[in-house]
Symmetry: D5
Subunit: 96 residues, 10 copies
């Protein structure tokens, strides 16, 4: 099943630069691990914003949540989720 996700990062203002850099490095590592697994299909930056739009394909809602919640910045993001399905006007056979 496929989800469209919008993540807006709210950088904690009280963190030291070192703590933030550490989080960002682990964030990158985690998101790339999931991209390499083939489940995190698209990861786009929203131009001009500290935000991304992602398209994630998972075997279940549980797996989808496992992916998102493994991100170190998960507790500090404002996240919007849309569960997707086939549109009657779509000409593509599969979702992805």
């Amino acid at each position: 099943m496929v989800y469209a996700v919008e993540m807006n990062v709210k950088i904690p203002e009280s963190w030291s630069e070192k703590k933030l850099a550490d989080y960002l490095a682990r964030e990158k590592e985690t998101s790339q691990k999931w991209q390499e697994s083939g489940k995190w299909i698209y990861l786009w930056r929203v131009a001009g914003q500290y935000a991304n739009v992602s398209i994630i394909e998972a075997d279940s809602p549980e797996e989808f949540h496992q992916i998102i919640s493994s991100l170190p910045l998960f507790p500090y993001m404002d996240i919007k989720v849309k569960s997707l399905c086939k549109h009657p006007n779509a000409i593509r056979e599969s979702l992805i």
Copy 2:
């Protein structure tokens, strides 16, 4: 350039069923023409809502607007647009 678009359809309550059916038929035809052109890359239904999430690649903002505004229901939709670009953590070379 790539845009993520969210369209929420607000069906006018005063339209006859015939007028609505006519609009929906032309909406389908128009969206499929753009999908066949290769520019409207993904058209997904948001599960449980009269809404879609679309990924559209256009040569310019003008062409992107031409695609969206050619939809017969364009004046009756609530539309959110996000201009996308490469995310520093993305492993994919190109956007699509």
Copy 3:
């Protein structure tokens, strides 16, 4: 998979009482068909509002959308959808 759905009905003001009564009768028939199928597990009225909270279990996002979009008032409702999964603190083994 399980979805929590909130539906707010926006009764079209220009409809005749006859047209509205017809829609409401078909709405009831459709929602009961799905409840009898075992997929629409809970249908609650929000006390004091023209709204419901529902818990729906479907085999796929497509089936979930088929259930919701089969409601005659579907185009005239404001619908919020949450895809659910197991909570780490839940003591119940299954979702339902």
Copy 4:
């Protein structure tokens, strides 16, 4: 009486990891105590979000409030509450 509750956790950014872990442990313990009592009937994670949807049955609004406000993270959550009642289209005799 039955309530549908949505809790969005806003993790305080200035807390140490130790303080947060302590809160989360007590949060788990408290919510499980209420689940075991039979009053906190469903506790679901919203897929992809630091949020839950819960269905709670209480003898009174006072008891319902006692349950929610006993959670250690209660002052740090954004909480939405809906008081539920029987829907005229529901085929189930009781609410739960």
Copy 5:
């Protein structure tokens, strides 16, 4: 149990003055019937707005919903509901 309710009336623009006057007369009759029953305890106008704040005491969420949904303008109001309980700082023994 006690509920605080806020009702904002959205007068349908397409109604004739006669239809509207008929609805308003029945609205008045219905709300006064409930006030006389002792269940609709307070009915206040919000100064400067087509809105009211009400305090309603009912035996159950079902009865509360029965009261609100019996109002002829129920489908054309934007309604906010708060279920109330005793505040730890309140000096009054009972809610009302």
Copy 6:
């Protein structure tokens, strides 16, 4: 004159438990002083939320503001105020 007030407390996350306890004790003392004066007529907890609904009768907007702003947590609350007056459908002669 009568006001309906909704106060949502936003507990500052960086406060020590001691500082918070001190504020809460003074908050209780202040609100009870006003209740005993007969001006703060109702103080209800919103079930499931760190919020209250209050009905306050004051001689003037100045006195009403004096009451609310004397609360130690005043700068840390999100407050909504409604000035009330007699509803044409109300059967009660006075507001309170």
Copy 7:
């Protein structure tokens, strides 16, 4: 007592030009009657919007509501009301 009011006019789209012109003429007449009475102290247009900001002084919330609700477009406006009082930093002795 003094109120700051913001009125946003939502012109009903289905009204004939004649009906609308009639309403606007009576709206003007009513607001000018209240201005001449000295109670509607300021009536300003918000530059670029179909909206006004008004400062109204009334003897009571009831009289304030009588003024606003006497406007023919009252049911078709989105109205925000603020009850004002003396600011501790104000150098002016009286409110107006």
Copy 8:
């Protein structure tokens, strides 16, 4: 003085195509008259939306309002206005 304006057109659903076409033609004529006068400096379409962003320079708030309110669709648009001034970091001497 310079204003940034965002206009979102809400096409009335009940209008005939002829009435709408007439309004749109007069809208174009009016906006072009003001552009030719040199006061409506920029008129941009927001890509993918029935909306525009405009930069308007007027001699006074009154003249600015005269420009916007002369548009035939003025009562049917959702309009946001920002009054602009020189930014301390701007290198350009004048606003335009």
Copy 9:
């Protein structure tokens, strides 16, 4: 030109009482200097809220911004601005 301004103060929770008192004293001094200059015409407290409504007359948007941004709490307030002009129904010749 005249502006209506709404300022909501968000007291930083981490400030010491001394730092806050210092800011508040300088805030008072600054706002009174502008009131004495005749440009800050009205400064009202919104009853029951840590907010004010102000009417400010300035020679230009630049001067208006100079007034507001000179307030020490300027970076910690949520500010809404409305540029005002003459209302066609106003009987008063001038704005103030």
Copy 10:
């Protein structure tokens, strides 16, 4: 391609004055570098708010994001982005 951008600065309350002054100095330097490059065409202060409206012309969404994200306060701003294109009623041949 041209973007309209609205940036609302949320000054972190816990920063020292020295840290803030350092950020503001680097913010100025960065924005002026981009203005001198000819890409950041307009930078306006919104009168009365800690916000700006900017018009930026970039070769691609990537370049646009590079400009915005190079600002030191980028993680602490609330940013709204609109991708612009030619309006059918515009008389100007080019966007800028």
